[in-house]
């Protein structure tokens, strides 16, 4: 089991562009959460997906959107990129939506120039 996999691992964008990040959950997991980790900070919750629906959302603008597919994989989309969106984006999967036991991917590092 490869665990949670994310792609791409690194990417560079310019302000105003759009980005899509992808995540495959750990085998047997049906819930996916996304976190943003800025340099020197702890991960910050963006949103969680379960049964292809957004279940809960953190304090992030509508520029951040997501999707979950029938195979439980997920995408995070960010529109109109700002310099402040530069961060490590972590995907985490879990067995259920009501648990704090998360399995993290290695992250996608986004740099916005």
């Amino acid at each position: 089991d490869a665990g949670v996999t994310q792609s791409p691992t690194h990417l560079i964008k310019t302000r105003g562009q759009q980005v899509t990040l992808r995540c495959s959950p750990k085998s047997g997991h049906d819930t996916v959460s996304w976190y943003q980790q800025a340099l020197g900070q702890g991960p910050q919750f963006i949103f969680q997906y379960y049964e292809e629906e957004e279940r809960q959302r953190g304090n992030f603008p509508d520029r951040f959107s997501g999707h979950q597919f029938p195979n439980y994989s997920s995408e995070l989309n960010v529109n109109a990129l700002l310099l402040g969106d530069s961060a490590l984006y972590l995907c985490a999967s879990s067995l259920t939506e009501n648990t704090g036991e998360l399995f993290f991917g290695e992250g996608s590092r986004l740099t916005v120039l």
């Binding site: 020197g40 702890g42 991960p43 910050q44 279940r55 809960q56 704090g100 993290f104 991917g105 290695e106």
Partner: protein
């Protein structure tokens, strides 16, 4: 509001010394508390949670509701304990984890 505070960015100890990584939280209800760890070049992973009340890799953490703390302790640090440690909280009815800013533990020989 839910908040987790880890007051130390860096904790440096010698091998064999006791370790205590501090975590304080702010939450009006009964939270679930966790410690996550990230070793060098590895992904973030769960170390332990207060509900299980178990010792993992010699680490323990006790939830003190009076002091709103969940400090992580180990009596004798090992070099392989060097890592980034994050304390996290999950409130009742919330799916999200709220993380602290992390403490880097450096264990020297």
């Amino acid at each position: 509001a839910q908040r987790v505070t880890q007051p130390e960015k860096l904790l440096s100890v010698f091998k064999g010394a006791p370790v205590e990584l501090k975590c304080n939280y702010s939450y009006s209800g009964s939270p679930e508390l966790f410690w996550y760890v990230q070793y060098s070049r590895q992904r973030l992973q769960l170390l332990l949670r207060h509900i299980s009340r178990e010792s993992i890799k010699g680490f323990t953490a006790d939830l003190n509701k009076g002091e709103t703390s969940f400090h992580l302790k180990k009596p004798f640090a090992q070099e392989e304990d060097s890592a980034m440690y994050y304390c996290a909280l999950r409130g009742v009815g919330f799916q999200k984890l709220v993380f602290g800013t992390g403490t880097r533990l450096l264990v020297s020989p």
